[in-house]
């Protein structure tokens, strides 16, 4: 589903190299975790996958479902099934959550040549998914993420993911700022989306999240590349020994 080859990324303005020769292959149905110390380039990878401006791909390639992901705009990537759950979900005053979700879903459906969902069908869909994630009607009535607590924001991200049903889910530090109960709700939401047609990339600093979202593969990222890969037991090793051995 996703093939990253020899990826080099720098910040457009400062020219600073962040990712320096990263290779990663994720197949449909797999859940991969990327762990690594702060500043290793984990979040940059997630932004480059989602198409955020400000990053320059100096070398390498990203192929998604056989297509050149780097040639696509952020909205085209989303319509093609790429979803980034933000580490820090953005508050957008004045844009109602339900309207946002509906425009997002219908824009994606339109881009894929599918018919738009009617308002009643859409409402039913969201309500059903929101209940499972403890996202209240009150939250849905507010503007996008405005006034949400850290945990509410993360739950809202997973709700968006559940409604949009992407093929490739990139979760950037979804566990940060969550207490154990919230973590469980979020993890249940993510696990419910695991399927043979869907791939996930879980980016995290701590092993804790991986107790709940059990990965097929774990990669250690340091100084802009993957320095070690292994099974889920690698996460436990890291938890015990820390990242010192992988310091740049």
């Amino acid at each position: 589903m996703l093939e990253i080859r020899n990826l080099h990324v720098k910040l457009e303005e400062e020219g600073k190299q962040i990712i320096k020769g990263l290779d990663l292959t994720i197949n449909a149905g797999e859940v991969h975790a990327i762990m690594g110390p702060n500043g290793s380039g984990k979040s940059t990878l997630s932004y480059v996958l989602a198409g955020r401006p400000g990053y320059e791909v100096a070398d390498g390639s990203i192929s998604y479902k056989g297509e050149d992901l780097l040639e696509m705009e952020a909205d085209e990537r989303a319509a093609a099934g790429v979803f980034l759950a933000f580490q820090y979900p953005i508050e957008i005053p004045g844009v109602a959550t339900m309207q946002f979700l509906k425009v997002a879903l219908n824009s994606q459906r339109k881009a894929r040549g599918e018919g738009e969902l009617s308002t009643p069908d859409f409402m039913r869909l969201v309500r059903e998914k929101a209940d499972k994630l403890n996202v209240t009607q009150d939250m849905l009535k507010r503007p996008v993420n405005v006034g949400f607590s850290g945990g509410e924001k993360k739950r809202a991200e997973i709700l968006q993911m559940a409604v949009l049903e992407p093929s490739l889910c990139v979760l950037d530090e979804t566990d940060s700022g969550l207490d154990i109960d919230a973590l469980r709700v979020v993890a249940d939401g993510v696990n419910a989306l695991r399927s043979p047609d869907r791939a996930m990339l879980v980016i995290t600093h701590y092993q804790r999240l991986l107790d709940y979202i059990v990965p097929d593969k774990v990669h250690v990222m340091s100084a802009g590349k993957i320095v070690k890969s292994g099974g889920k037991e690698l996460a436990l090793e890291l938890e015990k020994e820390g990242y010192a051995a992988y310091a740049a």
Binding site: R52, L105, Q160
Partner: protein, 424 residues
Amino acid sequence: MSVTLMKTPAETAFACAFDAQGPLASVRKSAFQQFAETGLPHWRMEDWKWTDLRQIISKALPPAAGTHAGAKVIDAIVAAAPFAGVANGRLVFVDGQYDAGRSALPAGVEFATLADAGSDRLVAGSTDPIAALNLAFMSDGAVLTFKAGSNIDAPIELMFVTTGAAAASYATRNVIVLEEGASATVIETHIGGEGEYLHNAVTQIHVGENARLDRVKVQEEGLDGIHLSNAEVHLAASAHFKDFTLTMGGRATRQQGFLTFEGEGTESHVSGAYLLTGKQHCDTRLVIDHAVPHCTSRELFKCVMDEAARGVFQGKAIVRRDAQKTDGNQSSHALLLSDEAEFDAKPELEIYADDVVCGHGATSGDLDENHLFYLKARGIPEQTAKSMLIAAFAAEAFDDVESDAIREVLTGLAEGWLDRRKGA
């Protein structure tokens, strides 16, 4: 008399056309003399430095009243007006003259046309040169009285159609009186056709004790039209006044509001939005005069400028020595959608009392890249995402409008503007 100052073709045209006759001859005469002292306001005058009317009104636009346009042209303009189905009654003025055939009013509202009611008892002078010019040439307008204790729920619309059929200037004047305890919603729609023209509109408002007025003004003048307006508002004790203006039309707009608090416990909210593009220019000037204690005033303007459009907001609050416990706050926010767009804000506080809470704020910027990326990352195409963010920006000012039905119309107008922008 310093008529010698009148030197532009437009000023000369006004001077040539002035003929003080009829029932209001003396009022008109002194008003014209007052106008003649300054002529058209220009950049050397502090309050007009961003809006130089000598430049803007470059051609002679002689005063006129009555239309040369055919019924079909007028019908087409009226049909395009936004509030059909929302307004409970409508008074239509075409090219400065009352059009009884297109007007209807519900029972319970006392109405006369200015032309009929016109007596100098009704019209107040003002120190503003444009208001004086209006007084000198005013042809018609609505004189509405809401009787003490009356409650007219559905909005009443005053519609000013300027067809643009003649390169002329039109002066209309309304007087709106809310007697004690009355409550009403009045919509002012200014809508125009193609062609160069000048519309100078004055609305005098008297909100009595415990009375409440919601006023909504939508300005969709033709894109070659010039819109000058003055609202002169007098608020008695415990009156409530809400005023919202949406400016989308006109080549150049100067709108002024002069509010005077004349009784304690009074509250005013003045808000507005601009949706401007091309080379459109809109300058709002507000003067809020807190003459008495315990009054609250709020001003909020959200201004969107695309292409080479220019917006100005000048808000001044005066808190007089006796006006203790005044609570005043104003803010203006600009969204600049192009490098050529421009916004100037001049907040002014003149405070002579010592126990007051007053503040002001102004911001100016373009769309937030993080907001845009978040929407795009969810599959929303860039143009749609931008439209959503622009609409959200303007909507904060719409929220000040009480009526859901009116707010829906305003939202629809903004959506139309955004769709045209997307299509361009």
